[in-house]
């Protein structure tokens, strides 16, 4: 490998040459076809690297959003994705009963459990599906949040996506690690991912669980009406009034 040449290319691109050196360099390029084509390839690599890493975060946010929208659009024709299981009916029925009981008891403040229905984690990173992430998913879905937390932490050290952060945050909240959970949701809240509104909702639930009703209400009021579960938001707001 022609090390000197690549160092020279880099210096040129970083604008670190004197005017004389630049002129020399450009003259060399004009005369030496081989060097010119290497320089083109070198610039192309810079372009590819900038595209790969420079927008990595935005790309992850886009992918997460795309996945959500895609699943919503394919869902109706695709029972496999919904994973409709009989016990969902049982769960839904018991939630309905809970709400029913709740309305009889008008004086009580709303509580966390009534509004906390975490969805199932379903990480389908194609290709090298991380074994640890799979474990975390399993632990989370079986409500072993204590087990799931350190697993999520391991994965997040390697790969940080809004989706993983989101489920990590829920696990923390379930375990009453409020400060840590809120840090995670706050980070998601200021991001651009599909989890932005969901993070706000869970921030509100965190306040609810800590019986800080005023803060809970304030956060709920910042949730956009486009949020997919806005019904829940309205319901909780009414309860708080």
């Amino acid at each position: 490998m022609n090390e000197e040449m690549y160092i020279l290319f880099d210096q040129y691109l970083q604008n670190e040459m004197t005017i004389e050196e630049r002129t020399n360099f450009e003259r060399q390029l004009a005369e030496d076809e081989l060097m010119a084509s290497s320089f083109e390839a070198f610039k192309e690599m810079h372009f590819q690297l900038a595209n790969k890493f420079g927008i990595a975060q935005e790309r992850e946010a886009f992918k997460a959003n795309l996945k959500t929208i895609s699943e919503a659009n394919f869902k109706s024709a695709q029972p496999k994705v919904i994973q409709f299981k009989p016990w969902y009916f049982a769960a839904a029925a018991s939630v309905a009963v809970l709400f029913g009981l709740f309305f009889f008891n008008q004086n009580a403040d709303p509580n966390f459990e009534d509004f906390n229905h975490p969805e199932q984690a379903y990480f389908t990173e194609r290709g090298n599906l991380d074994a640890v992430l799979k474990q975390a998913e399993g632990a989370f879905n079986t409500k072993n949040y204590k087990t799931a937390i350190p697993l999520f932490e391991t994965v997040l050290k390697e790969k940080k996506t809004p989706e993983i952060q989101y489920f990590y945050g829920i696990a923390l909240l379930e375990e009453n690690q409020f400060a840590k959970a809120e840090t995670v949701f706050n980070e998601l809240k200021s991001g651009t991912s599909a989890y932005k509104e969901k993070a706000l909702w869970y921030l509100a639930l965190s306040k609810l669980k800590q019986k800080d009703y005023k803060a809970c209400k304030q956060i709920l009021e910042t949730i956009s009406q486009d949020y997919e579960n806005y019904d829940d938001v309205q319901e909780l707001l009414e309860e708080l009034d």
């Binding site: 490998m1 290497s38 390839a41 690599m45 590819q48 790969k52 790309r59 599909a194």
Partner: protein, 193 residues
């Protein structure tokens, strides 16, 4: 490319680049059903259709972000053919059936043809680059990743706990290594043709 030639459907591209949910949603409503229908009628299922659509959307996002995607044709035919050709290529990979994939390009407008080939070339370049990047040693990978994520090489040096001079030199050499491999791959490819 002249500004005046850009098709109004460029809004879909801009929408993808800015991760605009409403635009993504409208693409799913307006253009995706046709793709799903085609794939299901050509030995595929819904899952596979969903994958193909997502891959093409991510490709368009990448190309739009690199500022090299300026639509000069309607989005409809462009998007459908990209998905269709990707699916047929996939079929070709898994079965040994000979699938001719260029015939459908003859029937569309020249501007659409050109756009599709441009996007596919972008995809090919990116894939080749990714393959070469994976070949790099871990040190190079890490250093390049930080070099293109952090604002300055001073920060990279600090992050990796080495000197500024070292990261600068190492970065040139790692990019150099990639450059060399890509050039070799390109020569190999042109010989094969």
């Amino acid at each position: 490319m002249e500004k005046s030639k850009i098709h109004p459907d460029q809004m879909y591209i801009e929408g993808l680049a800015s991760n605009n949910s409403a635009v993504i949603q409208s693409i799913y409503k307006k253009f995706v059903p046709k793709v799903v229908y085609f794939i299901k009628n050509n030995s595929g299922d819904e899952d596979q259709a969903q994958d193909v659509v997502q891959e093409v959307m991510i490709l368009l996002f990448n190309q739009a972000k690199a500022n090299t995607l300026q639509l000069t044709c309607p989005f409809d035919a462009y998007f459908f053919l990209l998905c269709k050709r990707r699916w047929l290529n996939e079929l070709k990979k898994t079965s040994n059936k000979g699938v001719t994939i260029n015939e459908d390009l003859v029937s569309v407008k020249e501007s659409t043809q050109e756009m599709i080939l441009q996007t596919e070339a972008f995809d090919e370049k990116q894939q080749l680059f990714d393959m070469m990047f994976q070949k790099l040693g871990d040190k190079c990978k890490e250093l390049l990743q930080w070099s293109f994520t952090l604002k300055s090489m001073e920060e990279v040096a600090e992050k990796l706990d080495v000197t500024y001079g070292y990261v600068r030199k190492k970065k040139s050499l790692c990019v150099g290594q990639l450059t060399q491999w890509i050039q070799e791959a390109q020569i190999y490819k042109s010989l094969k043709k």
